[in-house]
């Protein structure tokens, strides 16, 4: 049996988790809510993160529009995702939730805007 100590990152409490792995059985202790259990399991089986960045805007009231992956993506795809995000430019106007890149880096997850940018 393998046991791993980790800190839950799902909320600012930062609960210290102990995750025990035996075959395909994963047991999480130390969490103070169900989000912690979910995080502990996912972190040992297939860790994921939400990635946030910003994308250059043409003709907007600001230079950059902040963006995020609509859902969390596998941790090992973060840099592949950033590669694509960095290549993109978009024309104003932009609305919160607008899809900037559909299916980023083959993750099946889209990159969406997190701020409104007006056209000027």
């Amino acid at each position: 049996m393998e046991a791993r100590e980790m800190i839950c990152i799902r909320c600012p409490l930062g609960c210290p988790l102990t995750v025990r792995i035996e075959g395909d059985q994963v047991e999480v202790t130390g969490n103070s809510c169900s989000r912690g259990e979910e995080y502990g399991k996912k972190e040992v089986l297939s860790p994921t993160r939400v990635v946030t960045s910003s994308v250059r805007v043409i003709g907007g009231d600001l230079e950059m529009v902040p963006v995020k992956t609509k859902q969390d993506i596998p941790k090992d795809k973060i840099f592949a995702c950033m590669e694509e995000i960095r290549k993109v430019e978009i024309s104003a106007p932009v609305l919160i939730g607008d899809v900037i890149i559909p299916d980023c880096a083959g993750t099946g997850v889209s990159i969406v805007a997190t701020r409104n940018i007006e056209k000027i």
């Binding site: 600012p12 930062g14 230079e63 997190t114």
Partner: protein, 421 residues
């Protein structure tokens, strides 16, 4: 001179939440003054996620959280002035402002809510030897330059200070292709949230060196490198522990200070510990009718708590305006922070006129393991809660209920402290 019931200084998360709450409490004549060209304050540059879990039960980015409150303010038709700088607040609540449309003008308020936020400690506050080359930024400035203005800040980075903004910028710059070589922290513990150490440093293999500081900056036109050294228990560099890092950028994430120049001008009594105003349970300052909330009051680690606190300031200011500024009989009791509790906000509670419950927020002075947080009414211990870990980087709170005071009619003081057992 124009007149308004409530004037709010600052259109960030605190100002917006205060405005929405004051409007809901029945005050229609509100004006928000914001020096930037848009509402939302510092949240606009905090493009990372993790905001709003308490308030909206979902994980939002900073701009998304700001947008929710901007929408609320707009749907409540709360007026605001952008690009407007407040120059002075007088003791009789006259606010001097300047902007391009009105020039210099004066606004008279029945109540004022201070919501100006905080600013970062700059290099000048640290006394690091070296020239003044390009490439030294406070972490928040670098954040703004990258996330809003779209500049590239640096390629090889050393970060001094493990505050949350520094940690988040370590990740951000790594994602943008920079090499973050090390984060150095003067104290023997991190100043940031644990989750940020994990997801910003550990995720990307960035080392965190505790009890270390920058003792030299090299480079005359642009930073070319810095020297780190380990420090002893008196925070003095230990000879022989020097380590050189070549880099073109040094980010400073070395603490936030409430921005209270205007509050001081208004004659508001200040706390030496928080650098913010001293307030009662209604978040009223020592100047009648002037309220404070958010990071201008004390530096928070969660915007959700800022919004909650600001809503209280908004309803309190509304109640003050409606009561036509009359004074009620009070039984004011001081809160005293002892034995490892650095401060409390509020610093006073009016037991006569308090709400059903008051949330008292505080920070501890050091990292403590397996300690209790206790509350005493005079000499009687009324609450005693065990905490596995307490750290200065994480704000704590206790909730005091109004009916818990009914057995203490002669109460003189309330003590919030940590205890070993």
């Amino acid at each position: 001179m124009t007149e308004h019931d409530i004037v709010i200084i600052g259109g960030g998360p605190a100002g917006l939440a205060a405005a929405v709450a004051a409007k809901k409490a029945g005050i229609t004549d509100i004006l928000i003054l914001e020096r930037e060209s848009c509402l939302g304050g510092i949240l606009n540059q905090c493009i990372h996620n993790g905001f709003g879990l308490h308030t909206f039960k979902e994980e939002l980015t900073g701009p998304e959280y700001a947008a929710r409150y901007i929408e609320m303010a707009e749907s409540e038709n709360i007026p605001y002035k952008l690009n407007t700088m407040v120059l002075d607040i007088s003791k009789d609540k006259e606010v001097t402002v300047i902007n391009r449309e009105d020039g210099l003008s004066t606004i008279k308020a029945k109540a004022i809510i201070l919501a100006m936020g905080c600013r970062e400690r700059p290099r000048g506050a640290l006394n690091i030897p070296g020239y003044r080359p390009a490439g030294i930024y406070s972490a928040g400035t670098a954040q703004r330059l990258m996330n809003i203005e779209g500049f590239s800040v640096g390629k090889e980075v050393v970060i001094l200070g493990s505050g949350d903004i520094g940690l988040i910028m370590a990740r951000r710059m790594t994602l943008e292709g920079a090499k973050v070589k090390v984060v150095a922290e003067l104290m023997p513990y991190s100043g940031g949230l644990k989750r940020n150490i994990v997801q910003c440093l550990d995720d990307y293999g960035i080392p965190l060196k505790l009890s270390h500081t920058v003792i030299n900056i090299e480079g005359k036109d642009r930073v070319t490198g810095i020297t780190l050294a380990q420090v002893d228990e008196n925070r003095k560099p230990i000879p022989g522990t020097e380590e050189y890092y070549s880099c073109d950028t040094l980010l400073l994430s070395v603490g936030l200070i409430p921005e209270n120049e205007l509050s001081r001008g208004a004659g508001v009594r200040m706390s030496q510990v928080t650098s913010g105003p001293v307030v009662g349970d209604q978040l009223e300052t020592s100047s009648e009718g002037i309220f404070a909330c958010g990071n201008v009051l004390h530096v928070h680690d969660l915007v959700d708590y800022v919004s909650e606190e600001a809503a209280l300031a908004g309803t309190s200011a509304a109640a003050y305006v409606k009561a036509a500024c009359e004074k009620k009989a009070a039984h004011t009791v001081e809160l005293s922070a002892e034995n490892g509790v650095r401060y409390t906000v509020p610093q006073m509670i009016d037991l006569e006129n308090m709400e059903d419950k008051v949330t008292v927020r505080f920070r501890v002075a050091d990292v403590y393991k397996d300690r209790f947080i206790s509350v005493y009414y005079d000499d009687v211990r009324v609450s005693h809660k065990k905490k596995k870990v307490l750290a200065p980087g994480e704000m704590e709170q206790v909730v005091l209920k109004k009916d818990s005071f009914k057995d203490y009619p002669e109460l003189k003081r309330i003590v919030v402290c940590t205890e070993v057992e």
